[in-house]
């Protein structure tokens, strides 16, 4: 029971102070689980970061589930996950209400109008960063192969209107066959 309460308090803190999403949550999870409590070893933490990046969905939820499950089983996983989203549920419900209430006001409209191009720019910067990590950093012949796959995927999405899921599955399979074929 003590563990459950400690998990709850730790993950409320993480939920409340991680501004900017999963990559902001990770340093907080590290300090709560490695320094404040001895819940994880450094190796376990590194495994957690790797798995969080390898699996779909929110990174903070991955972290909460992993640590909670290790400390107190299923009850711990549920407690930590619930705690990490609790601050968001309260704050963002209020903000959603305020946004839909006031967004038509001319003063707010003009602020939102100038925020939108910036959000588009930020999404573009994510595309550039992913281009670096998944195409350029692949290196050598793999860079050429992934660049070709990128162009084909883009064509399939834009011109052929294929579903993104289909493109992801095909790209994963084709890339794997080519890469492992080259290694053998």
């Amino acid at each position: 029971m003590e563990n459950i309460i400690a998990l709850f308090i730790s993950f409320i803190k993480i939920g409340l102070f991680s501004i900017g999403g999963g990559y902001a949550a990770m340093p907080l999870i590290q300090s709560e689980t490695l320094q404040t409590h001895n819940w994880l070893t450094l190796n376990e933490f590194h495994d957690l970061v790797t798995i969080a990046e390898m699996t779909p969905g929110s990174i903070a939820i991955n972290g909460a589930t992993f640590v909670g499950y290790k400390i107190a089983g299923l009850a711990g996983a549920i407690t930590a996950t619930f705690a990490v989203i609790l601050p968001s549920i309260i704050l963002l419900s209020i903000l959603s209400f305020l946004y839909y209430r006031y967004r038509q006001m001319p003063f707010v409209q003009n602020i939102l109008l100038s925020l939108r191009p910036v959000v588009v720019a930020l999404i573009f910067s994510v595309a550039i960063n992913m281009f670096k990590s998944s195409i350029i950093d692949a290196g050598g012949i793999l860079t050429i192969i992934s660049l070709l796959l990128l162009i084909l995927s883009f064509f399939a999405l834009r011109k052929l209107k294929w579903s993104p899921i289909l493109v992801m599955v095909l790209c994963g399979i084709i890339y794997t066959i080519i890469k492992l074929g080259l290694l053998i």
């Binding site: 779909p56 929110s58 990490v84 968001s88 910036v118 998944s134 995927s153 790209c171 994963g172």
Partner: protein, 183 residues
């Protein structure tokens, strides 16, 4: 009730296929909520993402709460949030038993490299559509904001929250200027 069911499935889909976290969510959120269900517009989506990014907590969960509240009030918040946390929660529980084997498995790692190539294409596809809309606005101030934000993010590696807050200051100044000009 049907709406809550649709909301649950849509969020489950978004969460289960968003690899990489953060802004990647916009691609699948746009596909479901803007293009298929037509529950929100592109502009609303960008607003919600800006709010989600600058608030504490996971961006995916924050987006789910913002859109869920708009579509079905408190019930919408609970349904969307549950659907968003279920995929990473269940995957972690399943993987937990053999996570060391999973994180070092060559096949898993290689397939993921391939998936991330596709995710890069998906983000470029989305950003082309959204960027085209900014260009159509014909507003030089918006072009400049977009250009400066790209430089700050890509060249100087400034984090997204700081850039949005900076844009907020510019937006308030722009809005104040417009209000004065109207008088």
């Amino acid at each position: 009730m049907k709406k809550l069911g649709t909301l649950f499935l849509a969020n489950l889909y978004i969460s289960a296929f968003t690899f990489g976290g953060g802004f990647v969510i916009t691609t699948f959120m746009r596909k479901k909520f803007v293009n298929e269900l037509k529950w929100i517009s592109d502009d609303e989506m960008l607003d919600l993402v800006a709010i989600a990014q600058t608030c504490p907590g996971s961006i995916a969960v924050n987006c789910a709460i913002l859109s869920g509240y708009h579509m079905a009030g408190v019930a919408g918040v609970l349904v969307s949030t549950l659907a968003t946390i279920l995929p990473p929660f269940l995957i972690m529980i399943v993987i937990y038993a053999f996570y060391a084997a999973f994180s070092t498995n060559i096949y898993v790692a290689t397939i993921l490299e391939g998936i991330f190539v596709a995710v890069t294409a998906i983000i470029f596809d989305t950003v082309f559509d959204l960027g085209y809309k900014v260009f159509k606005s014909g507003n030089i101030f918006f072009y400049m904001l977009m250009f400066i934000a790209i430089i700050l993010a890509v060249v100087f590696n400034i984090n997204a929250v700081s850039i949005i807050l900076l844009a907020l200051v510019c937006g308030i100044a722009y809005s104040g200027f417009k209000a004065l000009a109207r008088r």
